[in-house]
């Protein structure tokens, strides 16, 4: 089932168009920065953007910081929201189940497929950003890169920390995917699951700006999403990264648990 699911994902033109569209925003930013050389003042704008003018190798991280808060969650909500509800709407869900594909296996296959989509998207964004960053933006130090804290990083350390940041971004999207997958087992229309997930994200983002919501802020889905920036401080500031990772793990466990409990005992009527 997993192999079939991945085959369908990679074959689908929509997958690649979505990735291309997500990728176009950081590329546009790179072009604008490269042409104008006008960066945001330090401390404002998306993370890393002020640093990339002098050091283009940091641009993959800037690119991830650009797509992570909005573009990625929208794409993930749609793809994951479609997973079960989409099959139900097409009338293919019942035929998968009578083939038979066990319900738990179907759920796992859908989840793996969504996560491969996330990985693919992040990889494409990071790779494109590396190319555009080194071509269009500053390429000051060759051997060492400056951290956000001002110290320098070796090439090796930079690669390691970039991979860590990618993994962290994936985990953040895993939380979104779990919520969307969970809703997808409840509703009949894929759009309902996607919009429901986006509503959760918007609510979380909104509450974070509200001082009165301070007490629940540490438990909100999006609270620590951009904490991967802390991986580029020297020394690494682990506190928020660890909290963020644990929080996502809890969200994933809860929503996948609900999704499984619901789907495994659901009457498939469409």
């Amino acid at each position: 089932m997993i192999a079939v699911e991945l085959h369908q994902l990679l074959r689908s033109r929509r997958t690649w168009v979505t990735i291309l569209m997500i990728d176009s925003l950081p590329t546009l930013v790179a072009v604008l920065l490269g042409v104008t050389e006008v960066g945001p003042r330090p401390g404002t704008g998306p993370a890393f953007l002020s640093a990339v003018l002098t050091d283009g190798t940091l641009f993959p991280l800037a690119a991830i910081a650009i797509v992570l808060p909005l573009f990625m969650p929208i794409a993930v909500s749609i793809v994951a929201g479609e997973s079960i509800a989409g099959e139900a709407q097409q009338g293919t869900l019942r035929y998968l189940l009578v083939r038979p594909v066990a319900r738990t296996r179907l759920l796992v296959a859908k989840l793996v497929s969504v996560m491969v989509f996330v990985l693919l998207t992040l990889a494409v964004v990071a790779a494109t950003a590396y190319v555009t960053g080194t071509l269009l933006l500053g390429d000051a130090p060759v051997a060492a890169t400056t951290t956000v804290s001002g110290t320098t990083l070796t090439q090796q350390e930079l690669i390691l920390r970039t991979l860590l940041a990618l993994a962290y971004a994936m985990l953040s999207m895993f939380g979104v995917a779990s919520i969307a997958l969970c809703l997808s087992t409840f509703v009949d229309a894929p759009l309902g699951a996607a919009l429901g997930t986006l509503a959760v994200l918007v609510a979380s983002t909104l509450l974070l700006t509200l001082d009165a919501a301070d007490s629940i802020a540490p438990y909100l889905l999006t609270r620590y999403w951009l904490a991967f920036v802390d991986l580029f401080r020297d020394p690494i500031l682990w506190r928020d990264v660890v909290r963020g990772a644990l929080l996502q793990v809890v969200y994933v466990a809860v929503f996948l648990g609900i999704a499984w409990a619901n789907f495994a005992t659901k009457d498939v009527k469409d």
Binding site: V4, Q90, G91, T92, L93, Y95, L97, P100, D267
Partner: protein, 301 residues
């Protein structure tokens, strides 16, 4: 092949299927009849493990469903309500996906897919996406799905839906051919004519309850009365006094032991007979007598 005991499904306060005991034997073409909304589809879905029964048990191919779905379903081909397919893929690609989910090895896949396409009359189909298929083509593709993997049991819900008379005839021949080859067929339909032409056994569902389950031949066997059509209704009635059970405008229903004697008597007496035949109940008579109107009819009131 299929045996249920006290199978019941309740949706909230509504009893969709009520204490149904089905018995489908190997080699049957079992016609599962019922008005719209009588619980046919819910029953079929319970047999396939899609809907979970509120109470009661179901056994398919000798094993409990849905517990042993993993062992039972590979031997079952199903068409549930409407056919379902990925609209952006071609019919052939859809079948390849489903074959990949089954037990078959990759090496024989193209052959198996071509084989079922041929059987349902889509052998020459090109790579157009299913989204552009006509209703009849989709129905044929759904049947092809069900036939993948040479199932021992076919569970078909309204298989001729959307087909033209020619197509219906083709599918009927296909089903008869499969049946002759040893496949047991569970055919759910509200089309009496279809069931009458195909089925060996019939089950009738009425408002969730199984009201009839018997061999088709038993249900439609002669009633023991003789149907007599004549222009001289009154004379025949006087002649056969005491044996006439029903008088119509141009016919009588007579209970006699020997039809040949009856014929001789009528001719001797100069009664002009237009038709003389043993009375048979059609499946329609049987079903209408045992059921009420379907749930799609809503009376004022």
């Amino acid at each position: 092949m299929i045996r249920t005991h006290g199978l019941t499904k309740r949706y909230g306060g509504i009893l969709a299927v009520d204490d149904v005991d089905l018995d489908v034997r190997e080699g049957d073409v079992y016609g599962f009849l019922g008005a719209n909304g009588s619980g046919k589809t819910t029953t079929v879905r319970m047999l396939l493990g899609l809907v979970l029964a509120t109470s009661g048990t179901a056994e398919v191919l000798g094993e409990a469903m849905p517990r042993h779905a993993g062992r039972v379903l590979p031997e079952v081909g199903a068409l549930v309500e409407s056919p379902g397919a990925y609209p952006r893929l071609s019919g052939r690609a859809n079948l390849r996906v489903h074959d990949a989910l089954g037990r078959g090895r990759r090496s024989g896949r193209a052959g198996r897919v071509d084989d079922v396409l041929d059987r349902v009359g889509l052998g020459g189909v090109d790579e157009r996406p299913v989204a552009s298929y006509s209703l009849g083509m989709r129905q044929r593709l759904g049947l092809a799905h069900a036939l993948l993997g040479h199932p021992r049991l076919l569970v078909l819900d309204e298989p001729t839906n959307g087909l033209d008379p020619q197509g219906i005839h083709e599918i009927r021949d296909l089903l008869l051919e499969l049946h002759a080859g040893g496949t047991t067929i569970f055919l759910s339909s509200h089309l009496l004519a279809e069931i009458e032409q195909l089925a060996t056994r019939v089950g009738v569902l009425d408002r969730g309850r199984l009201v009839i389950e018997d061999d088709l031949a038993t249900l439609t066997r002669p009633t023991g009365r003789t149907y007599l059509r004549t222009r001289d209704v009154d004379r025949a009635r006087a002649l056969l006094d005491g044996q006439v059970e029903h008088v119509g405008e141009d016919h009588l229903l007579v209970r006699v032991d020997d039809v040949a004697e009856l014929n001789a008597l009528l001719v001797r007496d100069g009664v002009r007979v237009t038709e003389l035949a043993p009375e048979r109940r059609t499946l329609e008579d049987v079903v209408l007598a045992a059921t009420v109107a379907g749930s799609d009819r809503i009376e004022r009131g």
